[in-house]
């Protein structure tokens, strides 16, 4: 059997592998160069950007929970100008697709970021963060209301010819309502899902574990929820879905693909195991061979219910 085709194309963006680094877990792309096999990575979503630099939340910012990680970083970031002049040239040297994650405290800020990125060499697409649980303006507020989510998508689409991929929050009553609205507003694909708002308390001191009180839960603990949301979303829209949530192995990645994802993002497990990329990709290739799958894209939505 010939080598299975592990590349995928989503909204016109070619990813040489279906494994994408999740925003906020891979810095500005170059931090892992000496320890990660980048050839296993199909794309990188850079840390969320606003127009201006942001300081982020006061620490403590992270806390481990069973098979999970709670974080409230609060989008500490360098601002779009420094990103474009200092970070993007180094990202361009990597042989991988680059998605830029944008955030805003207003519709106008999202639109302006999209306008600026439209002219930047090397950007393959825009992931729209409308689901961050840790900022007090914008973020998740845009993602929880289907109409608001659609308006942001529309405003961003008007300013750029790049593919636009809203990243959806799990913290909604019906994710398919949000998914359908942003699809109608022109979204080219969807990232499902962001972290789940969560909380932990130190019972001895009676204080929250995080200074921000509430943070976002990630890691294997949230995976079955993410698989369910990808399944529901993929069945509700025509546009491709990128699955995210606690992927730690090729079996996990396959669950997302079978549930309807066209590619997956890996985040928290990249912190734990820099070799997760290579191991997962090798596992996917082996699976394709064992199951006589010529192209990994054949697996999207192939769950038998």
């Amino acid at each position: 059997m010939t080598k299975p085709d592990l590349s995928v194309t989503i909204a016109g963006i070619h990813f040489r592998t279906p494994l994408i680094a999740a925003s906020g877990t891979f810095g500005y792309g170059t931090e892992y160069l000496d320890v990660v096999d980048y050839s296993a990575i199909g794309g990188i979503v850079v840390k969320g950007l606003y127009l201006e630099p942001r300081e982020g939340c006061a620490p403590p910012r992270i806390w481990e929970t069973p098979s999970g990680m709670l974080n409230a970083i609060g989008l500490q970031e360098v601002g779009i100008e420094k990103f474009v002049t200092e970070k993007m040239p180094r990202l361009c040297e990597l042989d991988t697709s680059v998605l830029v994650n944008i955030c805003g405290s207003s519709l106008e800020e999202y639109a302006e970021l999209a306008r600026i990125l439209d002219d930047v060499d090397g950007v393959s697409g825009i992931e729209m963060n409308i689901s961050c649980p840790n900022v007090h303006e914008g973020g998740i507020l845009f993602g929880c209301d289907p109409n608001m989510a659609a308006r942001v998508t529309e405003a961003v689409k008007k300013k750029t010819s790049l593919p636009v991929i809203p990243k959806l929050s799990p913290n909604v009553t019906d994710i398919t309502a949000v998914a359908r609205e942003v699809e109608a507003a022109g979204a080219d694909a969807l990232s499902v899902m962001n972290t789940i708002p969560a909380m932990a308390i130190d019972v001895e001191t009676r204080r929250p574990r995080l200074k921000n009180i509430i943070g976002g839960l990630s890691g294997p603990a949230i995976r079955p929820i993410a698989v369910r949301l990808v399944y529901q979303t993929a069945n509700a829209v025509q546009i491709p879905v990128i699955g995210i949530g606690g992927i730690a192995s090729h079996e996990d990645a396959l669950e997302f693909l079978l549930a309807g994802a066209s590619a997956v993002q890996i985040g928290t497990m990249g912190f734990v195991d820099p070799s997760v990329w290579r191991k997962t990709l090798d596992g996917l290739e082996d699976y394709c061979r064992r199951h006589a799958v010529a192209a990994i894209s054949e697996l999207t939505g192939a769950v038998e219910t």
Partner: protein, 261 residues
Amino acid sequence: MRRDEKATLVERRALSPDASLLCFRSSFLASALRPGQFTMVRLPEAEGLLLRRPYSFCDAEPDREQFSLLVKEVGRGTRALARLPEGAEVDCLGPLGSTFTMPAPEHRPVIVAGGVGIAPFLAFSRALRAAERDATVLLGGRTAHDLYLREEFEALGMDVRCATEDGSFGEKGRVSVLIDDALAGPVQLYSCGPTPMLVKVAELARERGVAHQVSLERRMGCGMGCCLGCVVYTSEYVRCCSEGPVFDADSIQWDRDRHPL
């Protein structure tokens, strides 16, 4: 150059009822590490534990291809590591972070450590000794049990002075009671330990105009500069894992940084 290395536990030495010195074999890490740096250790398979844990390199013996970590049992993660059987392999990512710098020739190094804060200083003391430098080592702890590795520093010929809060060994009181005497003449301070101790040492150092390098301990997600979970406030939030863990103590705004571990 950093690598994720398989390190084999070759010896576990109990230092107190709840602290052990774990000695690992890894020729790469033993020769690549510099005093002050740390490693992210992947915990042995234990239900529900996910993230790696950061540990300062305690000692380095490149000739024997060995390095050691000082582990105090304070929770499930540290317990899983401390009770690892000899011969077990663990993934150790490193060496990571900044290093202590050698004192100027005219400065006598004074090391101030509280409890497990002594960890990064054994390798550093070996480096000082190799450079034919003497150091004063001030050890503090709640009781005599918490004065780890005292004999090792003495064997290196360092001037070791101790204080315990319960008076069970050395002076009675916190380690700061030892500092005044140790600051005579031109010195360079190095410190690691609980935050209140570090703040106190930093205040004293600033009053006296003494240069002071501090090694900070923070919860870390990745240790590689990506998760931004371990930040320390200077004039902005900087990463303990990448800009630190060794900082110039004067650069830190302690009033914005007093968070519990």
